[in-house]
Symmetry: C2
Subunit: 372 residues, 2 copies
């Protein structure tokens, strides 16, 4: 095999597929990036058997072939080669000895047989939807924080993607809170419901350019999901099983509704969090009165008190939350003002906009009212 | 005690003295920052008994007094308070209960008796020198990398500051290499020789603005050194003992002299380092011939070969180095071309400019010439 590339194009391709190369694996071949130039195009592939990424790279095929190269070494060598305009030549012989040449430097490393590499699974392209890269990236950013990092309930480590005619709903929850984003699609598609691993979404969101003009095709297979955009395809296993009954957790009843400046609210809670060390479960207590809300946090390090002006409808209320959950939700809301709907100190609080394009549900925590 | 500050001024002062607050200590009072407003100025102090920093902060003294506050908590609270223009009020009572107020937020934390805090040692201001903040910062940057990180020889963890009339020489060495920087001072001063701990120099270099117009006074006491600049003083213990005989290690003899483009040389060595993992002691071998130098590195991961054009005087030479030592020295040299002076494969290599404002000595390493 003998190929030439512009360094910048090669590096870009490597950076994309690197997201699917496992850092630890029992199958050494998976620590490699596959360079496949056995046809008329050059494709790079990374695959950890859960998540696989393949991307086309522009280059010249002087001699067809394929080779698997240690991903870490290959990416570091390419990164350190001369400037972006330089040409890189990759050449390998029948014993997989590989030479990488650029300007005045020549690297010789040992490659592996490309045929040993695991191909990406085939996915039928029947069921699909189409949306912009920007929208998908935003959907992920605005929900991913409330998946569970704990593996004990596999379902909670993924996100529900639910297509219903021309609407897509994305849901994540971890047992203490839930994030929901709903968008309208440009077309009507076949209804579908899948659970996508959080890791896949995290990696995809790093590769997406976030361009509003560029589209992503998402194909739904029986056990896999396939994302296709630019010159790249990302294939991931789905999480099997029936997702939680989301609609049963929602409610539009409330006894107290407040509207508050988002930045001011977020700043206050972040400030109060200084008094909490990790694993320290101190709630922030909101005391909602006529036109103001008092915030209080009490820990072994000290006390913080603050007061914010609000618009209130309904009853006065004193309610406590894990400050981290409020911070996570408020950070990703772009609105200037947010509205909170609450029933009582034991029922979930909903942060949502009027059109319900986003709904964040947060369970309150108990606190000793007498000590406040 | 009751004081008011502009947030930005207070935060700036905290960030300066924080550099001297130990992260671990057996004396809890040293984990604090002392606020001393017992006179007409407000001073903040951090002190780990080796290194002490004191800085003046502008503010209003509504009630004189002093208090020691947990450094981490105090700095985090101040950092998270509203914008830089906001006024911060710090008030403490006779039981050291302290209230920090800014806009709509009030923090209450427990302080400690300021009198328990250790004052900075007094240093007589007889012997001193004066140079610009920029120059001191550069001197440190260009030598600090070759102190020893290993504590087994205390002397090697510091730098020699040697005043000789109107010249200042700064030297660091770790047993494998040595860095020397020499500058001319604007005046003539009393001769002196001290060893300053590397930690002190690292911290000072973070506080110095690097301004060419602003000066630093350096005072030399019997056991301490004092740096005075802006509104800040930094006091550090000196390392006791006689420094190594630097001049005996220097030599102006050479058999081979080469001049090479610095960036090209550095890039090549950095690239070759990809093939080395930590603790892997593979040398980079330079094969110097008439008008070119071949570089070669061989490891279990692969081989790199490169070739660079050079200007050579004297004999051909094959010599091996720890690539890290070459990289460290070349990275901080600002010249476009560097000159290397070598005697043979066993004698030190000198990288220096004609005026010897900098001299970097690097010991070569053995290699198996037959395997090259």
């Amino acid at each position: 095999m003998k190929l030439t590339f512009q360094k910048a194009a090669l590096l870009n391709g490597i950076n994309i597929v690197l997201k699917a190369v496992p850092s630890k694996t029992t199958m050494p071949i998976l620590e490699c990036i596959l360079i496949d130039a056995s046809t008329d195009v050059i494709k790079l592939t990374g695959n950890d058997m859960e998540l696989g990424i393949e991307t086309k790279v522009e280059g010249n095929i002087l001699e067809k072939g394929k080779i698997a190269l240690d991903a870490k070494l290959f990416s570091e060598i390419t990164r350190k080669l001369s400037d972006g305009d330089s040409m890189v030549t990759i050449e390998s012989d029948e014993k997989y000895n590989t030479t990488i040449t650029c300007d005045n430097s020549v690297f010789r490393i040992q490659g592996k047989d490309g045929d040993e590499f695991s191909y990406l699974p085939y996915i039928e392209k029947n069921k699909y939807i189409c949306l912009s890269q920007f929208t998908l990236k935003e959907l992920i950013r605005q929900t991913i924080f409330s998946i569970s990092v704990n593996d004990s309930n596999k379902m909670m480590t993924g996100e529900l993607f639910e297509v219903n005619g021309d609407s897509l709903r994305v849901v994540s929850l971890d047992g203490h809170r839930m994030a929901i984003r709903k968008i309208l699609l440009k077309d009507t598609y076949e209804n579908t419901k899948v659970i996508v691993p959080g890791k896949t979404l995290n990696e995809i969101s790093k590769i997406l350019t976030g361009d509003n003009e560029k589209e992503v095709q998402i194909y739904f297979g029986a056990n896999h999901i396939l994302f296709e955009f630019d010159d790249t395809i990302v294939v991931s296993r789905l999480i099997e099983g029936e997702y939680f009954k989301v609609d049963q957790m929602l409610s539009s009843d409330y006894a107290t509704k407040i509207s508050v400046n988002k930045k001011e609210f977020l700043d206050c809670i972040e400030r109060a969090s200084i008094l909490i060390r990790e694993n320290d479960k101190k709630p922030i207590i909101l005391n909602i009165e006529e036109s103001k809300m008092a915030l209080k946090l009490n820990s072994s390090f000290g006390t913080m008190n603050a007061e914010i002006l609000i618009h209130k409808t309904g009853q006065d209320l004193m309610i406590g939350f894990n400050p981290k959950f409020l911070i996570d939700a408020l950070r990703i809301i772009d609105d200037e003002n947010v509205t909170l709907y609450m029933m009582n100190p034991k029922s979930p609080c909903f942060i949502k906009d009027e059109e319900e394009t986003y709904i964040y549900l947060i369970l309150p925590v108990n606190f000793n009212a007498a000590a406040v």
